[in-house]
């Protein structure tokens, strides 16, 4: 008990000592392997700005909880000074009036601008010619694989990549072979318990068929419904044939892969640091990460951007705002380190650097940047947004074989159009 009190007391002292400098209250939702990297960056920043700016960072639960907290804190004027945000959710945020505009003047102060970012990324933070966030990265999902297991089963090609990444049949064969080899519990680990997460995979598979969620404000028009059904069918087939883990939540998915119980895993690039760190400690097998397999017509991978945004509902002094801009600018310019978190830095000056190009496993999956697809630009989209919400409700039963893909699609269609 005394120890707890001592720690509590020191925590109090720490916050009061920090008040000497301009304190920037920072919220993020980066709780994975990338969260560790971000904490490192915050520490580096604080060190470099000692006595001037101090970031007081907090990591909240990703997804609905995070965005619920943001929404209510802005509504009651208790918002942080800066927060991470998903670019996909910016249209919704603008509609809700949650974000402050990043003005031309701000961009100048930061020493950044349109020319520093790829068009698609710049477009992601823009609405009606105004910008609402400073892009940090793009973060697609990738296929992680256990080289040891795959090699043993003879499923690695000459480049050390899994075989059968070019077609549905090929990939199914690889999964089946892993299953038959019986060296793992699951050929593939997927976050099948969390519909929010599976949105990324399913949307990727739709993209591989050029499917669209929303066409001119209408949902799943024409054969798009069929394409969604196709995507769901693939995943359900994997479940039915025992090829992927069922009802697996996020931490369990990572745990299944890292403990060697699943040979492959579909997950975000942000888990790269987890693998790197474990491998360094000698607790992990040889591993790799590649672009998602092409199940349908052509490669496509869902991607989103982390951006920094300044919430409304927070009366900021001039000095504070300057400090916030400095934080965003610094983070963007130092995002090479962020690439070690697996993400692809948004700042094109960084991605042009040789050091970046030599980075592994990033370079292995960097090919996918050409094949990235994004959420539709609508206030209904975005992480934990209404579309997410509706669709994810039906993904879990479908992916785990409780519901037919056809039924799921018609339910999704009904609810989406009901909004």
């Amino acid at each position: 008990m005394r120890k707890i009190l001592a720690i509590a007391a020191s925590a109090l002292l720490a916050t009061s000592a920090a008040q000497a400098a301009e304190t920037v209250v920072w919220w993020d939702f980066l709780g994975g392997g990338d969260g560790v990297r971000m904490k490192q960056m915050i520490a580096d920043f604080n060190e470099g700005h000692e006595g001037e700016i101090e970031i007081d960072g907090t990591t909240l639960d990703w997804g609905v909880p995070f965005y619920t907290k943001v929404q209510t804190s802005v509504a009651v004027g208790e918002a942080p000074d800066i927060m991470t945000y998903h670019a996909s959710r910016i249209p919704l945020a603008i509609k809700q009036g949650l974000l402050q505009e990043i003005t031309d003047e701000d961009w100048q102060t930061m020493g950044l601008g349109e020319e520093d970012f790829a068009d698609s990324i710049w477009d992601g933070v823009s609405a009606d010619g105004k910008q609402y966030g400073v892009p940090l990265d793009t973060h697609p999902i990738v296929l992680y694989y256990n080289k040891d297991v795959l090699a043993e089963a003879g499923l690695l090609d000459e480049n050390g990549q899994p075989k059968g990444l070019d077609s549905r049949e090929g990939f199914n064969a690889t999964l089946q072979a892993l299953k038959d080899a019986e060296s793992v519990k699951f050929p593939l680990a997927s976050v099948t318990a969390d519909g929010n997460f599976m949105f990324r995979t399913i949307y990727s598979l739709m993209g591989q068929q050029d499917g669209e969620l929303m066409t001119d404000g209408e949902f799943l028009v024409g054969d798009n419904a069929e394409k969604l059904e196709n995507a769901l069918s693939v995943l359900q087939q994997w479940t039915n044939e025992g090829l992927q883990s069922t009802y697996t939540d996020y931490p369990a998915t990572v745990a299944l892969f890292t403990s060697g119980e699943a040979a492959m895993m579909i997950n975000g690039v942000w888990e790269v640091p987890t693998m790197v760190d474990l491998h360094k400690e000698g607790k992990l097998f040889e591993w790799g990460a590649v672009e998602l397999p092409v199940i349908f017509d052509h490669p496509a991978t869902y991607s989103d951007s982390h951006v920094f945004a300044i919430p409304k509902g927070n009366d900021m002094s001039e000095e504070k705002r300057a400090a916030v801009l400095e934080v965003m600018s610094w983070m963007s310019k130092n995002s090479l380190f962020w690439a070690t978190a697996g993400h692809i830095p948004a700042n094109s000056n960084i991605t042009a650097m040789d050091e970046y190009k030599a980075m592994e496993p990033n370079s292995t999956y960097s090919s996918l940047t050409a094949n990235m697809i994004y959420d539709p630009k609508t206030p209904l989209a975005g992480v934990a947004g209404p579309i997410f919400d509706v669709m994810s409700t039906y993904f879990v039963p479908t992916l785990n074989g409780e519901m037919d893909p056809e039924e799921a699609v018609s339910e999704i269609q009904y609810e989406l159009n009901d909004m």
Binding site: L5, A9, A11, G31, V76, P251
Partner: protein
């Protein structure tokens, strides 16, 4: 145990006793399992077989929770708000219960009906309005904002009223003969006489307030203002394999109330039966 009771326990009774004890152990097993898991390394925690005792015993998760998270701050928030709820609920209920039981004043019946009516209203339906109200008062993210809406505990007033009703009026008269003022009667006679009830009620209200989830969860948007019960579910890293770490935080959150219960078992029992309207 007296010799006669030993004699009376036949073998059926013996089996029954053993059965009950086994049930009790199974009942509490998840608690044991949570504690044990929290002192295993993360990779041991996810082993695909059952180990009732850690192979490697480690307190690293506790160390992590205590040093790398805001759990210390949350402890302080939980203590302050739980104590605040307890003191305010007990004192206002005690005063009101005393007034209704012992004093005659206009509006007494109306007040009593209000209290009985509030008995029926679930505070959960008021979350939206509480949130708006606390936002208007600029009390969100403050201790006061966490405490205030938790002060609706009509049952405490009812318990106090019943207790004061039971005090023979002789005491009041004896005190009057002793030149005691109305305040003396309250503070020197009635309150000390019912000190046991007050302690018991305070302990359970403290436990309830410590365990409160919904309102503190809504009223706080800043992590440094969270109570421990909210903090451990909201701020912990959702991504990655941290089962043991999460469990260690849970153990830390449950520790104070478990301790309070083990120390004041009889009072807790008394207060629970009181709060349900059964005389202890």
């Amino acid at each position: 145990m007296t010799p006669t009771t030993i004699k009376r326990i036949n073998w059926v009774g013996g089996i029954f006793t053993v059965f009950t004890v086994i049930c009790a152990i199974l009942w509490a097993f998840p608690i044991y399992w949570g504690i044990i898991s929290s002192i295993k390394p993360e990779d041991e925690v996810i082993r695909p077989y059952i180990e009732l005792w850690p192979e490697t015993l480690t307190f690293e998760h506790y160390w992590f929770a205590l040093t790398e998270t805001q759990i210390g701050t949350w402890y302080i928030n939980s203590i302050v708000t739980a104590v605040g709820v307890t003191v305010l609920t007990v004192s206002t209920s005690l005063f009101a219960g005393y007034a209704i039981s012992q004093l005659r004043f206009p509006g007494r019946t109306a007040l009593w009906w209000l209290i009985l009516a509030s008995f029926m209203v679930p505070t959960q339906v008021l979350i939206v309005n509480h949130f708006v109200l606390m936002a208007d008062l600029k009390m969100l993210n403050s201790w006061a904002g966490i405490i205030l809406p938790q002060l609706i505990h009509p049952v405490i007033i009812i318990v106090y009223k019943q207790f004061f009703d039971q005090v023979p009026k002789d005491f009041r008269e004896a005190a009057a003969m002793d030149n005691a003022s109305e305040w003396d009667i309250l503070f020197k006679i009635y309150i000390p006489m019912n000190w046991g009830v007050t302690t018991a009620l305070s302990i359970v209200i403290f436990i309830w307030a410590w365990n409160a989830f919904l309102w503190p969860f809504l009223a706080v948007t800043k992590t440094e203002m969270m109570t421990i019960t909210v903090g451990i579910t909201q701020v912990f890293d959702a991504f990655g394999v941290y089962y043991a770490r999460q469990l260690s935080a849970a153990v830390l959150a449950g520790f104070p109330v478990a301790l309070a219960y083990l120390l004041f078992q009889r009072r807790v029992t008394q207060a629970i039966t009181l709060s349900a309207g059964i005389k202890g």
